[in-house]
Symmetry: C2
Subunit: 793 residues, 2 copies
């Protein structure tokens, strides 16, 4: 562990320095132009009111810093022929990234109407944050972006996700000092404990310490130098400070520091690649302390603006109302001397243009930032080989996730060489029983390893950290750069990444309609240790609401599966791993449980998405009296047990059992591409019979999906109604009225023809429930008739 000292050399010749500074001026000029101007892009005439946008939207404060970093990265990319992408944590600095990709030429290649001339520049300015134009952030529309940076906090996890298994890549990750206060960002520094210099690329974090956020100083900016340095040393980095406000000086420092750092990165990699991984290196990072709104107006209306939070957004508005603001704007823009930067046609002069790298070395054109173009299919073993033997429904026992764990193991195995598949989880891979993967790979661990450690290795491909945000962010970065992944998590705690999920879903939705963006692999969740089997951890671990959250997002992106047993889980998992550009949510239990479908039946059932289970139904040659629907493993179990009770007590009752694997099937076709036609829905669920629906999650979700269907009026849903504690598994369903006895009582209440006999049955069931409570309170486990129940037919 060593302290870094900022190199004191001045690697730039005077000419180089001037050029770099000029290039930076050009980027700053174009950034301000985007925020303010509608016309007169090159200021060839005096600036007038009508050249200025009526609504001024955008963020200036972070932009000069982002531009500064860009031009310096360009320099080292060229000098060392680096393969580099740029992640802008403060994604609100959109104008800067657009300006730079425009200067380097990629922008006009992707968007030919934004040409590199006066006309193009005018359009470039107008389109920014303008209706019909482009977003204000480093959005999917921005070439070179895999990170919008709208919701702050994920710059570094995305960067690491991109770097894993990309040995040649250097991911420069700019972290806002405000962003650094978020929880997700604060823990993501530890990602270096999961990076192997042999097979992974490098992440170069650049803390953009411009001192301020929207209306406050930042915490990190107000630490002493020594505290700040200690913090990053503690995080495992070697922090280089690049500080100042005089561009000439800071250019030299930045160039010298980057030269040193690139040397160090290459040294670390060479060492590890030649001699093998020895110990976690102390990776270099940069702390760039420069003024917020650098080179912008020092004061506006007498108030400090440069080097202050007032420059965060648009440093001054009301250009129409205050002529002095128009003047301020013109002076500011002219301070960059556009006439020295752009030629007569409005094109960047060649002496400056040549500073940028060329082709795919340009950060705007790096294929890693458009992962779909690099994506290769996984080599997939035949999932049918992992089938559980189910000679007859409802008798065999298996652990669904464990079975799928074996399938995942072989997916892992067959793609070990391609190094394009990883599994993620917050310390729960074993707990969630997909640990068979550890037979072929280890847990990723580049920190200290002790002899007693179990399957830890810097080469491991199972990424475990007790941070759902890290898992999610790494996976996103990994997928966005064209690889595959799988995330298993406790169902309740996946809510920790609700917001990250939102952002990824929005990214997928938008990129689907950007022609040059290619589809990426789906983000696959396996939610297990679910609400019905967290009886031992209690109420805090019981929450099935993630799917409610998920289906608010665009139907074209969202898929939700509730396979009832091991073979259906296999089939669904196979399907998800092959899919593209979706978010797939699979909910399945990990406990030993009854198996219903053999592999053939499972494939058919999953392909249809929902269907009548003939073997469990008694309405084959007649109209049903009641439809017993179910979705989820536990509700399926309870439904079948209820059907058993019904058969015994009401042998004449015609029961139809419908199981739902693909939740989206329940929606009308108009709402989701998977939706059943009304015709099909009516055929399966009838138009007038009572439906008792036993659902894994909150019951109203089923209403929300089905309210447009004809028979919705007869739909009665049981599900989780937020009752729970530490108790027995069966008691959990009892507490929520989802148990077999309640389901039968629901049928009795809704099927009039059951008549007088029903009263006795109902009473018997109520007695059973009392017996159940007494039994568990005494013995602490469920009654044998419950625990050992099997489908008896």
């Amino acid at each position: 562990m060593t302290l870094a000292s900022t190199p004191q050399t001045k690697p730039l010749t005077e000419a180089e320095l001037q050029k770099i500074n000029a290039y930076w001026r050009a980027a700053n000029y174009l950034s301000v132009g985007q925020i303010y101007l509608l016309d007169n892009p090159l200021l060839r005439e005096p600036l007038k009111q009508e050249h200025v946008k009526p609504r001024l939207l955008g963020h200036w404060g972070t932009t000069p810093g982002l531009n500064f970093i860009y031009v310096h990265l360009n320099r080292v990319i060229k000098k060392y022929d680096l393969n580099t992408i740029y992640i802008a944590g403060p994604g609100h600095g959109g104008p800067g990234l657009v300006a730079n990709t425009y200067l380097e030429g990629t922008y006009s290649e992707y968007y030919p109407h934004i040409s590199q001339d006066a006309e193009g520049m005018k359009k470039l300015f107008k389109q920014f944050s303008f209706p019909g134009g482009i977003p204000s952030h480093v959005a999917p529309e921005t070439p070179g972006s895999i990170h919008e940076g709208g919701e702050l906090g994920y710059a570094l996890v995305h960067a690491y996700g991109a770097a894993y298994d990309n040995p040649d890549l250097i991911v420069a990750a700019v972290v806002g000092d405000g962003e650094a206060e978020t929880g997700a960002l604060a823990t993501s520094w530890h990602s270096n404990k999961f990076l192997n210099p042999v097979n992974d690329g490098a992440v170069l974090p650049i803390l953009h310490l411009n001192g301020y956020k929207i209306a406050n100083p930042t915490v990190l900016a107000r630490l002493s130098h020594r505290e700040l340095e200690s913090l990053f040393i503690g995080y495992g980095y070697k922090p280089y400070f690049v500080e100042g406000s005089d561009p000439t000086e800071v250019h030299q420092k930045m160039a010298a520091t980057l030269d040193t750092i690139i040397g160090e990165i290459q040294g670390i990699q060479r060492e590890a690649r030649v001699h093998g991984f020895k110990e976690r290196p102390q990776w270099p990072m940069i702390i760039l302390r420069t003024p917020k709104g650098w080179t912008g107006p020092k004061e506006v209306d007498g108030k400090k603006t440069e080097d202050y939070w007032r420059s965060h957004q648009v440093p001054f508005g009301d250009v129409a109302g205050k002529p002095e603001h128009l003047k301020l704007l013109e002076d500011w823009m002219r301070s960059y001397k556009p006439e020295e930067l752009f030629d007569a046609n409005g094109k960047l002069i060649p002496e400056l243009a040549e500073l940028a790298p060329t082709g795919q070395r340009r950060m705007g054109d790096n294929p890693h930032a458009n992962g779909g173009v690099l994506l290769r299919d996984l080599i997939m073993p035949d999932f049918q080989n992992y089938a559980v033997d189910v000679p007859t429904p409802g008798k065999a026992i298996a652990e669904a996730t464990k079975v799928t764990g074996k399938f995942l193991r072989d997916v892992m195995k067959q793609n070990l060489e391609s190094r394009n598949f990883r599994i993620f989880g917050p310390d729960e891979t074993a707990s969630n029983r997909i640990d068979p993967v550890l037979e072929v790979t280890d847990r990723t661990w580049a920190a200290q390893i002790l002899p007693e450690d179990d399957h830890l290795s810097p080469n491991g491909r199972v990424m475990e950290i007790l941070s759902e945000t890290n898992c999610q962010g790494w996976l996103e970065g990994y997928l966005l750069t064209g690889r595959h992944g799988f995330f298993s998590c406790y169902e309740a705690f996946i809510h920790i990444i609700d917001s990250m999920f939102n952002q990824h879903a929005k990214w997928l939705k938008t990129t689907r309609h950007i022609p040059w963006r290619r589809p990426i692999a789906s983000l696959n969740y396996l939610l297990t240790s679910h609400v019905w089997r967290q009886d031992h951890n209690g109420f805090s671990h019981q929450d099935p609401g993630f799917i409610d959250h998920v289906i608010n997002k665009k139907a074209e992106i969202i898929r939700v599966y509730l396979p009832p047993d091991a073979n259906t889980l296999l089939s669904v998992t196979d399907h998800c791993l092959r899919s593209r550009h979706y978010i797939n949510v699979i909910v399945a239990g990990k406990q030993p449980a009854l198996q219903y479908l053999d592999m053939d039946a499972a494939i058919k059932h999953c392909t249809k998405g929902l269907g009548i289970w003939e073997w469990a139904s008694s309405d084959l040659d007649s109209e049903p009296d009641v439809v017993m629907a179910c979705a989820g493993d536990i509700p399926t179990l309870e439904t079948l047990a209820a059907v058993d009770i019904l058969r015994q007590n009401f042998p004449d009752l015609k029961v139809r059992v419908v199981n739902v694997v693909n939740l989206m099937k329940l929606q009308p076709q108009s709402e989701h591409p998977h939706g059943l036609s009304s015709k099909d829905f009516d055929t399966i669920f009838t138009t007038d019979k009572p439906i008792i629906f036993a659902f894994h999650g909150y019951p109203w979700l089923i209403h929300r999906l089905t309210y447009r269907h004809t028979n919705h009026k007869n739909l009665h849903v049981r599900g989780y109604k937020e009752e729970g504690t530490t108790t027995t598994p069966f008691d959990m369903v009892v507490m929520n009225d989802l148990d077999r006895f309640h389901l039968v009582m629901d049928v009795i209440d809704r099927v009039p023809k059951l008549g007088y006999k029903a009263a006795y049955v109902k009473q018997k069931l109520q007695d059973k429930l009392i017996e159940h409570k007494q039994y568990i309170t005494q013995y602490g486990e469920d009654m044998p008739e419950i625990r050992d129940w099997k489908w008896p037919y």
Copy 2:
């Protein structure tokens, strides 16, 4: 900034040491007993199968460490007469906290049937993680708990929230080394920049570095000593290392360190309280490195267990199947020598019992951990004094959140002396326009302050950090200890705390039914900068789904308000601040907007929760042809503008306008205590007329709430359907078909009697929409007729 050196003194006499160790053995014994035993609690006879629980549920690994800390805190509480509460980050160590509160006597006071004798101990053991018993975690049922610790990550934010404005309190916060990997925890260390030693209490963080989590080592445990120390120095602490596995040695170290630290804390406080706040102190903390599962079985079935992750849960199960496990259990439990610890009746012997503090100094009985008993009403100014003048509906303009900001300012002012009200926000207080509060208080800031800083002070009561998790956690801790608060946040990013919200809602639900827990103040959210007015930040900032998430939780806890203008927002805010034990979500815009109701009307409207707006309706003396319902400020605006168009084009059409402030009113009474009766619902919404409902959020939420009502079949909802970008405000509603023109077209499509004329109107509206698109694409702002529209009647 100084380095700590672990004191080398041995403050405990041999006798003291033996006693402390014995007390710890007693706590460990009771913990193991809870996990394993049904009977034979004192091991007065040889252990048999039938004494052991059939299902073994619980977590041993963290427990000895938690117990160790507890007894040492007891020592210093007694020695220095400290006022201390204990927050167990690894809340899965429930047996430990239960054991300790039992030993100190509080447990039996709260739960008299769990008496301090053999009979009580037997019940204590049986009830743990047992049906009808108590949860496995440090749940609301546990005396002294404000922190269940089920979902990991919030120990430290809760601790700081408890410490703010409690100058005499020391909050000991045990942080699991796994927990420390979570994002929320990683950033919460910075809470020390917001703590003022003059008026706030102290937080004593104890990093419980037992090396492991569920099935992995922890990141922090595998840093070098120097990195670890650097990290915490960087976080602003003075870390004291207490390390070892020989209890005798570690007891002395812990005692010496705690003596030193208590001295330092008191020194810091004395200095600041006598001489005023000078600079942020370097608060002490402890890094306690002891084995996971300390004193438990070293090996189980030949596998390393103590000092390893295998001791995380139940170190060995299958006591029934493996006699050697029964033996292991008995040996383990006897190793604590229960016969030396408990007297003939099974009560802790007096020599040990006297080690615990007495009365409310006992951590299980500290009133701060049952905040409701300390809660005092806020002194409230009359909100009507802040009323916006609304002489006639739909003409005046005001900024709703700014108006409420003035009310909040005076709430703040009137309670400054009581120091029991704080406002929280992720750097958005000014952006969300509740900055009038800064006229009477500052932003909390105990870090470096520069001359140019604006309203920063260590005495400030507005807490801003760019971490939604910190804001939420601080507020929770503050409320749970009996104070009041208000959290304003961008609507989209509140999803970052979805999961924390869940846990708090569960806490409230459970505590409501624990008689000795007293109600606490409600958690109040103001969600602003909402989906319809994030047009400048674009798609990533547009998400109204938090309310969907919220209403999955228990109706008795959840309240959701969508006030349409400033006076209604005032009335709602007043109501929320006075309420108890709820989570109130208020959604309201911050932009200048039309005002509809004068204060009188606003109060009536908010009290009803929803109502017909007569002044906007045209069905006063007849049946309506259509009901135009709306909830949320922007939908209300668009609805009224649509009604205007309808009036102009179809003067005979009878329109009823219904505005909804209290969303829960829409549910049936059976589902929510606020729900309208079916009768009232039918009267207002009719039983057979089309309802066009313009909603702030995702449209299906309204269906979910109303599907049981008679007229649901005629309900047509418009809302956010996940379309958005950087554009104009009106274009946002157009993109989602929620604009006035679409709403009118919806009426045309659903009211048959409009007849042939309607075709022309529809075409005119379609033309308007095209005109709109053309206009904004050219000018970048909305058409004047849209921007300047007012209610013209």
